[in-house]
């Protein structure tokens, strides 16, 4: 099956410019309505995690089923740094990203030495271990009771404008959009770098890459560290946005599964595709399927995903965006 207009092909840069331009203008079109913006914030968080996940899977060919671990780790790290250590939420969010890198190296370096599906299995177990730690380190994490009152990022003042992240959905929307731009920009820079070329080589054929002198372990670890940094950063944003954390929601398996779904839907072969996929699936589910079926709406979503996998296996953007040569 050919999608309508499938002859049209644009560069990744053009697709990204159109996408981010539309994101910038969307609140205007929606009259800054808080409900629509809160749905879009959820979509942007998912989109950013999907792009982060795709740095590891799409660029380096290493599939993770445990990104919920990095997401929850970042959420807890930032909340604890802000509430217990008294850090500014902004600094705490950056600290959460660093924590994500540290833990990713701890788990990645030993598991990447193994061949086959061991990395995917190890990271799945790692996410569960982190959830159990959050459940049992009561004095630090509040245990199963969770943490109430995680502070929002402190307000920013630019000239006469104030971005109040406590109450304003618009401020949170643009912050989530900037985070997505940051993740995407970092992924683009990474792909263009020597490390990115090494990742593409490892993705294509790991043994051949090792044969021509590509440091396979270091390359995989770099991809995982970048992916973990941004996933943890988004987890931190989530904690400061929702103001509440508990192990079930921070380490929810959906944070492992939905980024994969969004990436498949949008197209794993592109860097902007997973973000587009996240917005499309969130939007369709919320504004179309949910209105048709109050409690059975996710059935449509599953059918749609199956249709895309069968008839457009490279995703919505996969066949339309020209990848740059590396």
């Amino acid at each position: 099956m050919r999608w309508p207009g499938s002859g049209l092909r644009v560069t990744e840069g053009t697709a990204a410019a159109l996408f981010f331009g539309a994101l910038a203008l969307l609140p205007l079109a929606l009259s800054f309505n808080p409900y629509y913006l809160s749905i879009l914030v959820a979509a942007l968080v998912l989109g950013s995690v999907a792009v982060s996940w795709n740095v590891l899977a799409g660029l380096c060919g290493q599939v993770s089923f445990g990104h919920a671990g990095f997401f929850g780790l970042g959420a807890y790290a930032s909340a604890i740094l802000a509430m217990r250590a008294g850090w500014s939420p902004w600094l705490a969010m950056a600290g959460a990203g660093v924590a994500g890198v540290a833990v990713s190296l701890l788990i990645g370096l030993p598991s990447f030495k193994l061949r086959g599906p061991y990395f995917a299995l190890a990271i799945l177990g790692f996410a569960e271990v982190l959830k159990l730690l959050a459940l049992n380190l009561d004095s630090l994490t509040g245990g199963s009771q969770g943490i109430f009152g995680v502070p929002p990022p402190t307000a920013l003042r630019l000239g006469g404008l104030t971005a109040d992240f406590e109450a304003s959905r618009t401020a949170n929307y643009y912050l989530a959009g900037l985070l997505l731009l940051l993740v995407w920009g970092a992924a683009v820079l990474l792909r263009r770098s020597r490390a990115g070329v090494a990742m593409a080589t490892v993705h294509a054929d790991e043994e051949a890459a090792a044969g021509i002198g590509v440091p396979v372990l270091r390359t995989k670890a770099t991809a995982l560290a970048v992916s973990a940094f941004f996933t943890a950063l988004l987890g931190a944003f989530y904690a400061h946005y929702v103001h509440y954390l508990d192990p079930d929601s921070a380490f929810d398996g959906a944070w492992s599964i939905m980024p994969i779904v969004a990436a498949l839907f949008g197209g794993m072969s592109t860097l902007v595709g997973p973000a587009v996929g996240a917005l499309v699936i969130t939007g369709l589910d919320e504004f179309l399927f949910k209105r048709l079926f109050e409690s059975g709406h996710q059935l449509f979503f599953g059918l749609l995903l199956a249709a895309v996998i069968v008839w457009a296996p490279s995703g919505l953007l996969g066949g339309r965006v020209r990848r740059p040569t590396t």
């Binding site: 808080p34 409900y35 009771q145 103001h243």
Partner: protein
């Protein structure tokens, strides 16, 4: 001539319509959010069923139409916030009911406070929720009421001296375990065994042996269905010499009795409401709800459905009496004091229920016999229970 006749007819119809519109009270917009999908879907769907019955019964009783707006929050905190943004911000509802789980109700009630919209939940028992002192926050049930049913029964009915508490590490079970421990300690009852276990635990024998070695008379298990099945089977294997086994939620259900057979006999559990447990003054209301629910859904209501029903009923009554202004609705809710199918309902200044107490029942011949509180009891507790070897 024909045109004049037609014009007269149109005018008459218009006047009639205008008169009807002027005479009818405007519809009340009520918002509800619940996890109808996701991990909490089963509870959310039952809650919404109860809310729907309340809206229909309210319309029948008062003649005021209810425009019920239901939003599925998908068991996700972000979507729970979006639910309130939609219900309060777009739909402009006069009040919101529903919400299940403290992780969803926490952020949702914060958003409701921002919109100055009265919010009543029945599915979040964390004590920290009301510690925020939101003026729009109300709930029908909370943790100390569950804990009181267990602790008071152990102190007053059983007069036990030593109790073992085993609890699942999940949020609600941890909190009830800690609350009961505190209430027992305040009443002079020792808790020498206080052990947490993880979800998915299958071997409870080491924990049960600790209870045996400490000479505990009562075993309290704060958990969920698989935890009860595991602990009861292991207690039978060990012939654990406790005089009573008390659980939190989900005891005595048909599934529980089917799974454990004779082992389910004499086990105690807590509930907010089961059919026939309403205080005398509220029996008629209980019967009305059960009848309406059965007629609508062809099944018996659960306590979650009952809570959903009551929350919507109180919110609708307050909105109707107060004219829909948030401040007036809040004042009326705060002033209410009624005997209901779940006992006496009145709210304190934080929105917590002043008199909420769960009921404690014992499973006897496959039926649930309420033994506490006394005014809702349907029989006497069989204490000590018969040894495990005979069941």
């Amino acid at each position: 001539m024909i045109a004049r006749k037609t014009w007269r007819l149109v005018l008459a119809a218009g006047l009639a319509a205008a008169w009807t519109q002027a005479g009818a009270a405007p519809a009340i917009k009520l918002g509800a959010h619940a996890p109808e999908t996701g991990s909490l879907a089963k509870h959310g769907q039952e809650q919404v069923k109860g809310i729907r019955v309340a809206a229909e019964e309210f319309s029948k009783r008062t003649g005021i139409a209810v425009d019920l707006k239901v939003y599925d929050d998908e068991s996700q905190p972000q979507k729970a916030v979006a639910a309130v943004e939609k219900l309060a911000g777009i739909e402009k509802v006069a009040g919101i009911v529903g919400g299940y789980g403290s992780n969803l109700v926490g952020p949702a009630s914060e958003a409701a406070e921002r919109y100055d919209t009265p919010y009543m939940t029945t599915g979040a028992v964390d004590t920290k929720l009301s510690a925020r002192h939101f003026k729009n926050f109300f709930r029908l049930n909370y943790m100390p009421g569950y804990a009181a049913a267990q602790a008071n029964t152990i102190r007053e009915l059983f007069q036990a001296k030593k109790v073992a508490i085993l609890f699942n590490s999940q949020s609600a079970t941890t909190e009830i375990a800690e609350a009961v421990k505190g209430q027992l300690a305040a009443g002079g009852v020792q808790v020498p065994v206080f052990e947490k276990f993880e979800k998915g635990t299958t071997n409870y024998k080491p924990l049960l042996l600790k209870a045996r070695d400490a000479g505990c008379e009562v075993l309290l298990v704060e958990g969920y269905f698989p935890d009860y099945v595991g602990t009861i089977k292991d207690a039978k294997i060990l012939a654990l010499p406790v005089k009573a086994y008390v659980g939190a939620w989900g005891i005595g259900t048909p599934e529980f009795i089917r799974e454990l057979g004779p082992m389910s006999e004499f086990v105690y559990g807590t509930s907010i409401w089961e059919m026939g447990t309403a205080p005398k003054a509220a029996r008629a209301e209980e019967a009305r709800f059960v009848e309406a629910y059965r007629a609508r859904f062809k099944e018996d209501p659960s306590y979650i459905a009952m809570l959903g029903y009551l929350s919507a009923e109180y919110m609708l009554d307050a909105i109707a009496k107060g004219g829909g202004a948030a401040a007036r609705t809040r004042d009326l809710l705060r002033a209410m004091d009624a005997v209901t199918p779940i006992g006496r309902v009145a709210f304190d200044e934080k929105g917590d229920p002043r008199h909420f107490t769960a009921v404690l029942f014992q499973t006897r011949a496959g039926k649930q016999v309420v033994v506490y509180p006394r005014d809702r009891a349907g029989g006497e507790a069989k204490y000590p229970a018969v040894p495990w070897s005979t069941r």
